[in-house]
Point group: none
Chain length 199, copies 4
């Protein structure tokens, strides 16, 4: 085996993993998180069920990995936004509209909470999810603080404001689950406005 091939194999493996994970989210969005079976995911990914276990040790590992990547990606996205030279209100708008546009985001959101609540998921997993959630609040809190310095964001503990901001978006995300939808519009600008001083 040349090192070239080893590298290629690893790439292939990574592609496969990403493919399986996105298929998992996809099928979770259709079947409902609680009732997705290994078989469902394997079929959706076009992979044999036995082969799934070459990529993941268990079903729980799939969920854990899904969460890790989802939360990490989101964290990076928010961090990048936070470091931009724009004004705070614009940054909040970007986060808000981007998030709400993402299809399947509600699936991630439900998955996060399912993972945290299920006795099945290990204490360790729950701790990690909560830790990442909390960490991901920091960039948003930084934006809130920036906004307060700019005189546009309401006063109050920036971390608390960030918490409310993210919770609000998550709450709305859940309302966008497929099936029947709540017949009330969602306007990112209006959401951001709640956190601003000027009416």
């Amino acid at each position: 085996m040349s090192p070239r091939n080893v590298e290629k194999d690893l790439q292939k493996r990574e592609i496969r993993i990403v493919h399986i994970l996105s298929s998992a989210i996809e099928v979770m969005a259709v079947k409902g998180i609680g009732s997705v079976s290994m078989n469902d995911i394997a079929s959706a990914a076009g992979v044999s069920i036995g082969n799934m276990y070459h990529y993941f040790k268990s079903k729980d590992e799939i969920f854990a990995e899904l969460l890790r990547r989802g939360q990490t990606d989101y964290g990076e996205f928010v961090a990048i936004i936070a470091q931009k030279p724009d004004r705070a209100r614009e940054k909040l708008y970007m986060i808000c509209s981007t998030w709400l546009q993402m299809t399947n985001h509600w699936a991630y959101t439900i998955l996060i909470h399912t993972a945290r609540m299920s006795e099945t998921s290990s204490e360790e997993l729950r701790r990690q999810v909560t830790e990442r959630f909390t960490n991901n609040l920091s960039p948003v809190a930084a934006i809130m603080e920036q906004g307060q310095r700019e005189g546009e964001v309401k006063t109050g503990d920036p971390m608390e404001l960030a918490f409310y901001f993210v919770s609000l978006i998550q709450g709305l995300t859940l309302q966008r689950a497929p099936g029947v939808e709540v017949p009330v519009g969602i306007e990112p600008a209006d959401i951001v406005r709640l956190f601003l001083t000027a009416a």
Copy 2:
């Protein structure tokens, strides 16, 4: 015909049903919604597993009934608040603090979303849940409108504001699920403040 007191039987039955349902919520709060078995609920309620089926046709019916009662109770609570002679900001505060204090409320919230997402739950159930959710927005919207007339609540479509308010509270509720908790305080007054004009 019957040597038994029919009315008393019906009362007993209702009491039993309520008891089973609250046991169900209780155990769901501990075990996690996805993994509650009929056996868990039966044990928690101190009822034999076979007997459960005298009160509910299926596990799904338990969930459906739980949702119906939970949403109806909440709707009545909000309607009563809305009709009080208090100011809007005070009403919002009452809703917010009451809701966040309720133990197990996160369980209802997750259950609502689980029900709406699972392919298992019928289209009919999903429709009903969404309809009740939407109906329950109205009293909150009325409060928003009142607040706008009083000059304290921010401008904007009252229904939209109500939607945000409820979504925010639901989003926060989810963060209060047992296990590891997010280390950020939740202050009802601060939440309400987001919807007010005066900083």
Copy 3:
């Protein structure tokens, strides 16, 4: 209690029993014999399930009684026919057409065979059913013998002919079960003709 009342009670009881039994056959014809539950029968009879056990010791007893009465009634019917002053060919015709006209007769027929085959039914029950079946062959065999004396019925062991005659009718009865039916006419005269010498 006057003896008058006791007698009346017994009459009432008998009426009730007959009513339950006919409801049982009725519902077996709809639900299928294998899947009739005590509850089904009780509901069909408009009797509470607990009350069923005042009239029958068990579900098996219902089946046993159903068989006993069905076979006894049939036996009496055939015996009466056999003793009539008519010619054998006419007697055969009467048996054949009467039987095939009876609604639900297929249910009895299947029930007989189900009872004889199921390991559930006791050895004793199976013996009784077979014994009654065999006994009920005798009057038909007598008719066959009469017919042979009259020169109209084919030669051969009368008991064997009777066995074929009854088996043929039972086989046809099974084809008349509800649902889709075999699109071939059944003519009693043609059936009888099979057992006659003259074409």
Copy 4:
């Protein structure tokens, strides 16, 4: 893609299916059709209960497949007999004696009728069973017609005669179920004779 021999796998699967089906008939013949459980069949076939569901979606599917194969095999058998160069009376004799010699044939017969009667079995299944039954009458009807041309079979609609012939054999088959048996001999020659003109 696959390091396994796909064709061989399919062959193995077919063998397994046939094995399970014959085990099912076997155990039905012992336990009685109504009370055969998945577990019984699995044990009889030496297969784990979970594995049964790799081959059949449900218990009903097993019954449906059993019927399909049984009726198809019988149809082929009869068709082959019909095309032989022999005389009609000899063909009828072959069908009759072969059928009555087949062990477990009564089990198929009862199964057919059980399937047609049970509300459990779908309308579709009942239609199929009846259709196959009707189709299988045709070769027998052809034999009857041949016999009429040969001057040995009684006059009358050949299809109707075939219907009677098959019903008679089925009726007799049911009498051969295990347990107590009717103490009357069954002679294929005598049965065929019923359909012949010459005494």
